[in-house]
């Protein structure tokens, strides 16, 4: 059966004039299946966003391939992206439009007819708790609302593959939970989801499999609990949370990351 998303030996080197070339992604490979959420876990600078941009076909890869339902994103970007929804890390909302109009307009880029786009957008805005903002300009939305809208917009074409680049970074716990619920629902509906994050809890909660990304390389890839069991074990970890205060807690993906790379997820140091 054709995989919704398959990435093979993908590498990306940045060649900036006057600077040394930077190999940001070093031959990563994985496949994502229908109804699977696959996480790329790593700190800032690990190569997550570059990988996402190459996988969606926005950046050309230096070598390797990225295929959506066996369609090469570089050779046939139009066909491949018809099945793809992307939520970039940066805010790319179109501030010239109201919330509803921008959803409908975005749908037209995927050949979604205006009336159908309006129907889908209304349902999505309801689902994301943005219905009462549908006539507002983007400028009037809070940071959390903007992020929700950006994810909602990525769903207006009803994509079979969803690329979410740090969708919850900087959000408060309530908004984060709304997005987690939506991601879980999309997974149940059968979408293949590629999620990048540096939140271990998010990766553990949402992802069926997690790839530990460090300096552009996948160090290991498995279900979160398998990664923990394999690299850390089941024993509780004792740590000093402040001078003289020690506590024990279950092992988590942060410990896996630390063991594999010698650095922490939050800052990569």
């Amino acid at each position: 059966m054709t995989s919704p998303l398959s990435v093979l030996d993908l590498a990306k080197q940045y060649n900036t004039p006057g600077r040394d070339p930077v190999l940001a992604v070093r031959g990563i490979s994985f496949e994502i299946h229908e109804g699977e959420c696959f996480g790329l876990l790593g700190p800032n600078g690990a190569g997550k966003s570059t990988s996402m941009n190459c996988i969606s076909g926005f950046y050309p890869a230096t070598s390797g391939s990225s295929k959506i339902f066996d369609i090469d994103v570089y050779a046939h970007p139009k066909q491949a992206r018809m099945k793809l929804g992307v939520c970039a890390q940066e805010d790319t909302l179109d501030t010239d439009f109201s919330v509803m109009d921008q959803m409908v307009r975005y749908g037209t880029y995927f050949r979604v007819p205006v009336e159908e786009g309006r129907r889908r957008s209304a349902a999505l805005l309801e689902r994301f708790g943005l219905n009462d903002k549908k006539d507002d300009l983007v400028e009037r939305l809070s940071g959390g609302m903007r992020r929700r809208l950006q994810v909602a917009r990525a769903l207006v074409s009803d994509p079979k593959v969803l690329i979410l680049d740090e969708p919850t970074t900087g959000l408060d716990p309530e908004v984060r939970r709304i997005l987690w619920d939506v991601i879980a629902e999309e997974r149940v509906k059968g979408a293949a989801i590629l999620l990048s994050t540096h939140y271990m809890e998010e990766a553990h909660r949402l992802c069926d499999r997690v790839a530990i990304l460090h300096q552009g390389k996948i160090l290991d890839c498995a279900p979160p609990s398998d990664l923990i069991a394999q690299h850390i074990g089941a024993a509780e970890i004792e740590e000093e949370i402040r001078a003289g205060v020690r506590w024990k807690r279950p092992p988590n993906l942060e410990d896996v990351y630390l063991k594999l790379t010698g650095s922490h997820l939050e800052n990569g140091k």
Binding site: F58, K78, T95, D96
Partner: protein
């Protein structure tokens, strides 16, 4: 990989924004050329009665109205492209958002330049209409001038997109604005006959694309002698600027 459906789709996005902010759009598109028409056509035109070129004599108002068609094309296309494209690329990230959909960056960039040229052509059309209504322009010539307006606007829009792509900050757009656009505006024959300039300056002015645009518009609207060099000069600018601006913007966006 470019398809006209994608270009049309993005062009409609621009048109939709223009339509939604109708009053702002009308003011920014049409008021400036109208102010120039009134100030120079009627104000200065009252002082300078006629202009003689190659034995032909026209009123200064006719002369400057035709120049203002060219000036409108220059300003409307360049400023929309340079500042508008910079904002869409750098602040709004519209290009990036659209280029991750089935619409390619190549289509987005075609749509950008075509929109900038379209908007400038709307504005130039208003000046042509006024000139024709006042009996200053040959009606048929004014109509034939429309495609020329679009092609000329395409040249200046490409220049604007190139400037947007090469500017690190929005303030840097001021350099080409003051060092290239304003000198063109002043020395390419909008307000006075090129023959008034010293020969060396005439040569320099003819290298710039606006001189050709002014000359061709006066030929069509006022029946001035055709200066054949205008065609190859515009063609060279078009051939250089269009691929250059597309390459520069692609490099800016795609790492």
């Amino acid at each position: 990989m470019t398809g006209w459906w994608g270009v049309r789709c993005v062009w409609l996005r621009y048109f939709d924004v223009y339509r939604k902010s109708f009053i702002y759009s009308i003011v920014t598109t049409f008021v400036e050329p109208l102010l120039y028409l009134v100030a120079f056509g009627f104000g200065l035109g009252g002082l300078v009665k006629t202009v003689q070129i190659n034995g032909a004599s026209v009123s200064y108002r006719q002369f400057v109205f035709a120049g203002i068609v060219a000036q409108t094309i220059l300003f409307q296309s360049f400023f929309e492209a340079a500042y508008g494209a910079f904002i869409r690329m750098y602040y709004q990230r519209v290009f990036q958002a659209i280029a991750t959909t089935p619409i390619t960056l190549s289509e987005v960039l075609w749509a950008e330049v075509i929109w900038d040229a379209s908007k400038a052509t709307f504005a130039a059309m208003a000046v042509l209409l006024i000139g024709t209504a006042m009996g200053d322009f040959h009606p048929v010539g004014a109509l034939i001038a429309l495609p020329l307006c679009f092609v000329s606007a395409f040249v200046f829009a490409s220049l604007g997109v190139l400037v947007a792509a090469r500017s690190r900050t929005i303030e840097e757009i001021s350099y080409p604005q003051y060092l290239l656009i304003f000198p063109m505006f002043l020395f390419c024959g909008i307000f006075f006959p090129m023959e008034s300039l010293p020969p060396a300056l005439q040569w320099a002015a003819w290298v710039l694309p606006l001189t050709s645009v002014v000359s061709l518009i006066r030929t069509l609207t006022l029946g001035f002698p055709l200066r054949l060099q205008a065609f190859p000069i515009l063609a060279v600018w078009l051939a250089v600027l269009v691929p250059w601006c597309r390459r520069a913007m692609s490099r800016r966006l795609i790492k």
